[in-house]
C-alpha cells in the first residue's frame, strides 16, 4: 500500500490510517486535528456542506504546508487528508496528524497546519442552510487576504 501523506479524497475518512502514517519508534507524541461539519455557525443552522477542490494544486499546497512544518519543527512527521464532496453534520472534512518525540512541537505544528490550510489550499465550501445556500469565502469569517494575496510562503508565521 502506498503511503500518501497529503491527500484530497472523496470518501469518508478516519483517523486511524493517518496516525499510522506518522507513527514511528522515535515518536512519543502524536496530535490529531479532526475538522467536522458543525451544525450551527454564526447562529445559522447548516443542513449539509459541499466541498470543492482544485485537486492537483490542493495536494501540492498540502505538501508545501508539510514542507514548511518540517523546516520549522524538524522533529515532526505530518500527514493531512481533506475530503471533498457532500458532507453531513458531524462528517469529518479534514484530519491532520503530527508525530514528534516530544509533545510541544506536535501541538504547534498541528495548529500551524490548520491555519495554513485555511490560507493557501484551494478548497471551497458551499453551505446549505434551511433558507438558502452559498459558497463561503474566508472573508465571511476573516479578512480576505489581508496583504492582498495569500501568505504564500508562510512568512507571517515565524
Amino acid at each position: 500500500m502506498t503511503k500518501k501523506l497529503f491527500e484530497i479524497v472523496e470518501n469518508p475518512i478516519t483517523v486511524g490510517p493517518l496516525i499510522d502514517k506518522v507513527m514511528r519508534r522515535e515518536a512519543g507524541a502524536i496530535t490529531t486535528f479532526i475538522g467536522t461539519v458543525r451544525e450551527i455557525t454564526n447562529g445559522k443552522r447548516t443542513i449539509n456542506l459541499e466541498y470543492q477542490a482544485y485537486k492537483p494544486m490542493a495536494e501540492k499546497m498540502l505538501k508545501q504546508i508539510g514542507d514548511e512544518i518540517t523546516e520549522k519543527w524538524p522533529s515532526t512527521y505530518v500527514a493531512i487528508t481533506h475530503r471533498v464532496g457532500k458532507l453531513d453534520i458531524s462528517d469529518i472534512a479534514v484530519i491532520i496528524a503530527v508525530s514528534s518525540p516530544h509533545r510541544k512541537p506536535a501541538y504547534e505544528a498541528n495548529e500551524y497546519a490548520i491555519e495554513r490550510i485555511k490560507q493557501i489550499v484551494p478548497i471551497w465550501k458551499k453551505e446549505q442552510w434551511e433558507d438558502g445556500k452559498a459558497w463561503i469565502g474566508d472573508q465571511l469569517e476573516n479578512i480576505p487576504y489581508p496583504k492582498g494575496k495569500p501568505d504564500i510562503k508562510g512568512d507571517d508565521h515565524d
Binding site: 471551497w124 459558497w135 474566508d138 487576504y145
Partner: protein
C-alpha cells in the same frame, strides 16, 4: 490557447468550470481585466490567480499552453 479553470461561486457565475482563451500571451493583470470585462466575473477582483498550479502575481506572464486557475478566497479546513 490558454485554459482558465473556475471554481466555487465563479464557476456558478460563469455557468462553466473552464474557459478556453484563444490568446498567445497576456499578463495576469490583463487576464483579470478580461475576465471582469468580457465575462463579467466580478469575484476575480478578490481572487488569486494560479498559473500551472502555482500562485502568480499580477505582473507575471501567461502563455499559450498554460493552465490558469482563478482561486476565490478559500474556505477549506
Amino acid at each position: 490557447m490558454i485554459e482558465v479553470l473556475l471554481f466555487a461561486q465563479l464557476q456558478e457565475d460563469a455557468g462553466t468550470d473552464r474557459l478556453t482563451l484563444n490568446i498567445e500571451k497576456l499578463s495576469v493583470k490583463q487576464l483579470r481585466k478580461k475576465l471582469m470585462e468580457t465575462y463579467n466575473l466580478q469575484q476575480v477582483k478578490e481572487s488569486m490567480v494560479a498559473v500551472n498550479e502555482v500562485y502568480a502575481l499580477d505582473k507575471e506572464w501567461i502563455q499559450s499552453g498554460d493552465t490558469v486557475a482563478i482561486i476565490p478566497p478559500v474556505s477549506g479546513g
